[in-house]
Symmetry: C2
Subunit: 319 residues, 2 copies
């Protein structure tokens, strides 16, 4: 038995998540799976690297959570139901305490959505985590390219919290705990994605920042949008920061919030309103899709200006 | 458009591989796939790290090839038909020449088996490559656990070539080119895996070395085996090395050959023989599965000895 195999078996076998569509999980050359008939399979792979996506001394429990959360957020953005995950974990050395905490953070979130870890690879190397998630959807899921002129633009939760946590960390080393939780343990909006899958048009998750990610919807849909800055949903700390600095760049272009941004025809607004009581996140209409390309921002004092999508660039910034 | 997205689009879009079962490839939060009805989905994920699995100055073309080959070899070992791949690529910096060569090596092998790259992630970090492959099989594929007492044990190709290349590289820095090709550009035995899927019992690919990988079959099947050392298929350079050193550890426990080791009932031997003309690799019977647990090795001079499975341990050795 190789170290690789033993590590996966030891830390990542979770008897609490055993799905009937997993015919063979960890332990052979491949996992063997039985996707449901009549649905599409959706997959997404994300990598988190030490020093780029997280600090080397990050709490491994929260890192385990986030490693899975970013993928579940991609499934949520397509309106898909999570099912399986694979994990490629590169570690400088085997550290039992670290691995146990990482596995617990991963497993806690996996249990919530009954996501079974079906395989992966553990190797020696600089600390790096790649997770692929697999889920199911009907009608090919929600697409970035499906926005239509006249659609209302909604976001879930609040914007800029994760970026403010990072800002505070860099400034003082003492970020507010609630903000750090938003940065380190984002809650993927799985229930929301499933709830709107039938009637929303376009959807994306906010990993790179509102303007960058909404920009993806606009370019894929070949449309434009206007957003109304005063309507952006802000937590109390971000609102204070914006008021003190008059700088809106955190909610506009800060990454890592993992909220959903979606568009829907005005006729479906009442259907969305009816969902509110069952969802554990706020929903805020922030603007409208328009035929004229470009992203326009309306502010209280400066009128309307055209802004360029700017967000997290993987080869430019780091944590 | 983020750097991540642009990089994947720029280097890894291959118009020569467009499969009808890919409803949406790179460019949204998830890829959307349509697995075939009546078959199982098989997946495997492997990581290659700089300094552990390859030298930092490795030819990027061969690295692109090998990154996909190791996964296709896992599919081959289960008798599965390759279909899709995802790629998580961490790079210290964007190097256009390097990326182009890597993508070409990946694409050349992908085209051969019509494997479509459907997504992934490119991030900044220490050079690290994780590839997940996806394929289809009927009857759950070939399993490690399916060996039966009395089965004949076969291996494809020759054993120890990759390990000898590494040995020569470490000794002199000038390994033989043919051996280096075996180390850097292994040929996954996809056709062989598919050909024997109907009648072989257990199968595994030789990534960690013959005794370690055959050991996986034995422990999964709760059986033992005898192998006849003089029958191990050796290339001319490995045969010379063994004769000069009287050390059989390269063919017995050297990793990275990516040949298949499989077991089949003697009654199916003629069916295997009939396949030989269509296959581009040798097939050699090296021993037999036995009810008595343990791995026994018969040599010409020393009789029979019991050996322990030893092979590549990911947290102990490096390139």
């Amino acid at each position: 038995m190789t170290a690789e195999f033993a590590l996966i078996q030891r830390y990542f076998s979770d008897p609490d998540v055993l799905r009937p569509d997993v015919l063979l999980g960890v332990g052979d050359d491949c996992a063997v799976l039985s996707p449901p008939a009549g649905k599409q399979l959706l997959v997404s792979m994300d990598t988190l690297n030490s020093g780029v996506h997280f600090f080397a001394d990050v709490d491994p429990f929260t890192l385990g959570h986030k490693s899975l959360a970013v993928g579940l957020s991609d499934l949520a953005a397509m309106g898909a139901e999570p099912a399986w995950a694979t994990l490629a974990l590169s570690l400088p050395a085997v550290d039992d305490d670290w691995l146990e905490a990482f596995a617990q953070g991963f497993a806690q979130l996996a249990q919530r959505y009954q996501v079974q870890l079906i395989g992966g690879d553990t190797t020696r190397g600089a600390l790096s985590i790649s997770v692929q998630v697999h889920g199911f959807a009907v009608n090919r899921g929600l697409r970035r390219s499906a926005a239509r002129a006249g659609d209302l633009i909604y976001v879930s939760g609040t914007l800029g919290d994760a970026a403010l946590a990072l800002h505070q960390y860099k400034q003082s080393g003492r970020p507010q705990a609630a903000l750090m939780q938003r940065l380190q343990q984002p809650q993927p909006r799985v229930e929301l994605g499933l709830a709107i899958a039938d009637f929303a048009h376009a959807c994306i998750d906010l990993s790179d920042g509102l303007t960058a990610d909404l920009g993806h919807i606009l370019s894929a849909s070949q449309l434009g949008a206007s957003i109304h800055q005063p309507d952006l949903p802000l937590s109390a700390p971000v609102r204070r920061h914006v008021e003190q600095t008059t700088d809106w760049s955190l909610p506009l272009s800060g990454g890592d919030d993992y909220e959903l941004c979606f568009t829907l025809p005005p006729a479906q607004q009442s259907r969305l309103e009816a969902l509110r009581p069952e969802l554990d996140c706020e929903l805020t209409c922030i603007g409208r899709i328009e035929a004229h390309t470009g992203l326009r921002l309306t502010t209280l004092d400066a009128g309307t200006q055209t802004i360029s999508p700017a967000g997290y660039q993987h080869f430019r910034e780091s944590v």
